[in-house]
């Protein structure tokens, strides 16, 4: 108890600085984004960076440990249906009208291909009964942000150069690259690179590559196992650094690739090039979601952060590593005209261009494989997907990857 008779010194009021906790992966949890968001928003931002499977698991099972969850639409079957997230009210997202039709409709234009599997449109709107679907409602599961169309990279000395060379996913199973093929080890991603390859060689035809049957999964795994036994694969990789090492060290002639990895290459950049596959791209779409526990001021803070993502700066950081944002026009304001022209319009770079950390990732004269955004987005054939038989496929995939990396004979 205080003695009221004594004069009291005024104690300074200590207001703890507000803090937002973001769970995500290395795709969006990058320092330039955090620093700028902190400065713009006036609250602390803590990043919890995890690998892909761990991130999904945390998101689903420990929603109290984060405020905002950043991953991909194809992760939502696991996270949303575990009851970990709350709907986002698009009435609180001023940029919503400028978010592209690729997410809202499923394609960049009415006639563009939709792509199989977990297209973000299929998981976007909260439907009656708590399901997710394409029918517009006021609430969404995830605010669409960064995305890209992935392909594979190849050694042009092996596969050739020039206008007659038509890169095909079949190259991931090509005898010219025997012993020098690597796949990304993620069952919602690398699995589809392999599936596209198997269809491109004509060895397997899937009724729906985005939702395979048990028989189709078995057929694909048997095919991969045959090739493995013959010695086609030299490894698998889980992050961009591993992928860059494989290419830089000359171990691979063809492998799954992610955009930022090309910028990290040294001398291999001369011959290891990004493909624009004749069959089309495997795409993915990231976004940010709200943890179910958020209320009041914390919820407001999370909305501020989500809206900040669509305010332009973050999109520019993403562009410099080869990723697109869902409302490109706001980001254009934050890019130099040459950057916009190279990354979004497919023009040749008139000067060297830097990546998010300032290092040069594009050399003068280079042109982005596949051309402008709109052309690339039109050619999406499959999205990263967590299909119905995901458990079965993921286990089979894991056995295959273990054998590849242990070099088991048969």
């Amino acid at each position: 108890m205080q003695d009221d008779t004594k004069p009291q010194l005024a104690t300074p009021l200590v207001v703890p600085r507000r803090r937002l906790r973001v769970l995500g992966t290395s795709i969006t949890l990058v320092d330039p984004v955090r620093e700028r968001a902190r400065a713009d928003l006036g609250f602390d931002i803590a990043f919890e960076k995890k690998d892909f499977p761990t991130c999904q698991r945390w998101a689903a099972m420990q929603p109290d440990s984060y405020d905002v969850y950043e991953q991909c639409f194809h992760n939502l079957d696991i996270v949303w249906f575990w009851g970990a997230l709350q709907p986002i009210d698009i009435g609180r997202v001023p940029e919503w009208d400028n978010v592209s039709d690729l997410v809202k409709l499923g394609g960049v234009s009415k006639y563009a291909g939709r792509g199989r599997g977990d297209a973000p449109a299929k998981k976007l709107y909260v439907q009656p009964g708590g399901f997710l679907g394409p029918k517009p409602t006021r609430y969404i599961s995830m605010l669409p942000t960064v995305h890209n169309m992935d392909s594979f990279g190849y050694d042009a000395r092996v596969f050739g150069t020039g206008p007659d060379v038509r890169p095909s996913w079949a190259w991931l199973l090509d005898r010219r690259a025997k012993g020098r093929i690597a796949l990304v080890d993620e069952p919602a991603i690398g699995f589809f690179d392999a599936a596209l390859a198997a269809e491109a060689t004509g060895e397997i035809e899937f009724a729906d590559i985005g939702n395979m049957t048990i028989e189709e999964i078995n057929a694909l795994m048997a095919l991969l196992e045959d090739r493995r036994v013959e010695g086609y694969f030299c490894g698998t990789w889980r992050d961009g650094i591993e992928a860059a090492d494989l290419a830089e060290g000359g171990k691979v002639a063809v492998q799954s690739m992610w955009s930022p990895v090309y910028g990290k290459l040294g001398k291999a950049r001369q011959h290891f090039v990004e493909s624009a596959p004749s069959e089309g791209y495997r795409a993915w779409h990231g976004g940010a979601s709200l943890s179910r526990h958020l209320r009041g001021a914390e919820l407001d803070m999370a909305y501020e952060y989500l809206n900040w993502w669509l305010s332009g700066y973050a999109g520019a950081v993403m562009a410099r590593q080869g990723y697109y944002i869902s409302n490109p026009q706001r980001t254009r304001e934050w890019l130099a005209p040459e950057e916009w022209a190279y990354w979004y319009e497919g023009a040749a770079a008139p000067r060297d261009l830097a990546g998010p950390d300032g290092a040069i990732v594009v050399k003068t004269g280079e042109r982005r494989a596949g051309g402008p955004y709109i052309d690339r987005a039109r050619r999406i054939v499959i999205w990263n997907t967590v299909m119905d038989e995901y458990n079965y496929a993921a286990r089979a995939w894991e056995r295959f990857v273990r054998r590849v990396n242990q070099g088991v004979a048969a």
Binding site: P53, T54, Q56, R57, A60, M61, D77, I78, W80, F81, W82, G83, G129, G130, F131, P187, T213, I214, V386, D388, E389, Y390, N391, Y392, A394, R395
Partner: protein, 327 residues
């Protein structure tokens, strides 16, 4: 399957439990006003709660116990004001006749072993394919291989394990297709059984259950699912159909329990759906309830398929019994 010289060993478990409770009520060991709760009785009888529920319902029908404004039942006919006696039944010196005790024990070994293994074998299948080695299972349970073979034979009968070409016992994997097939079967069989059950549904108990939704924390979606089966669907006067429904649900409910153990949060939407369904059953033409049941099952199937996917990203350590070897 169960061979024993004890004549009571063949009697259903709920009959044995009912017999013990009845005799102790009549002899006064369980005095009027004593609060009977499922859990503690199950502990005394070394059994699960399911046969205790049936035994209590039987005693209720016989007028030996009655419901009151609280959890459980009160001993006595009801109608007169008694002060509920809340004591742990385990503290009372219940009279359990030796022959009944033996029968419970005999069944105990078998049933107790069986129920546990059934649940473990069913729920592991979400984690893939497993092999069960007879000797390992016998060691794990501390029972003979004869008992283990009986257990495995029954599991095979119920479609939970199969023999591989090399004569190994194999369980799983549970695929999305198996789940879809099972839900499709549910959509065909359960509304049909509910229609047949119409005149035989235990309406008073359904009403009582409806009154507890929203207030009684014991009411989970699983509890309501079981109650819907026992009080309504299983009342269909077609034993073969009811048996098919039960065995078709077995794998699904075990996996459900496994997911809850992994931390699947309580699902309020599903509770609401059961509430609507039970309300339709008691107050409206049975046809509307049958249609709603079909709708409820189609939604449940979609959720179920999505929720299963989490298993691919969790650490499986400790998720299945040690006698199950992942293949």
């Amino acid at each position: 399957m169960i061979r024993s010289v004890n004549p009571l060993a063949q009697e259903p478990r709920y009959e044995l439990i009912g017999r013990v409770l009845r005799e102790n009520i009549l002899s006064g060991v369980l005095p009027p006003g004593f609060v009977l709760l499922e859990g503690p009785i199950a502990a005394v009888m070394q059994t699960s709660r399911v046969p205790v529920q049936s035994a209590l319902r039987q005693l209720l029908d016989e007028g030996l116990i009655h419901r009151f404004d609280g959890r459980g039942y009160l001993v006595g006919k009801g109608g007169e004001a008694v002060v509920p006696i809340r004591r742990d039944i385990r503290e009372l010196d219940l009279d359990i006749p030796q022959v009944v005790d033996q029968a419970l024990q005999t069944r105990g070994t078998w049933r107790h072993v069986y129920d546990k293994v059934e649940d473990e074998v069913a729920s592991c299948q979400i984690f893939g394919e497993f092999r069960i080695v007879e000797t390992e299972l016998a060691d794990h349970l501390g029972v003979s291989r004869t008992v283990v073979r009986d257990v495995l034979a029954r599991l095979q009968e119920r479609g939970l394990v199969r023999k591989s070409p090399s004569s190994h016992w194999i369980a799983g994997p549970l695929t999305a297709r198996t789940v879809s097939d099972k839900f499709q079967l549910r959509e065909i069989m359960e509304p049909a059984a509910l229609r047949l059950a119409g005149p035989h549904i235990r309406y008073a108990e359904v009403e009582a259950l409806l009154g507890r939704i929203g207030t009684d924390p014991e009411i989970t979606p699983q509890y309501l699912g079981d109650a819907l089966l026992e009080l309504c669907i299983a009342q269909a006067p077609n034993a073969a159909l009811v048996e098919m429904i039960r065995s078709n649900r077995l794998l699904l409910s075990s996996v459900d329990r496994a997911l809850i153990l992994l931390g699947l949060p309580r699902d309020e939407d599903t509770i609401e759906q059961y509430q609507t369904l039970l309300d339709l059953i008691t107050h409206h033409p049975i046809d509307s309830a049958c249609e709603y049941l079909r709708y409820h099952l189609s939604i449940t199937a979609r959720r179920y398929l999505a929720r299963m996917k989490i298993v691919a990203v969790i650490d499986e350590t400790g998720s299945f019994a040690p006698y199950l070897s992942p293949q």
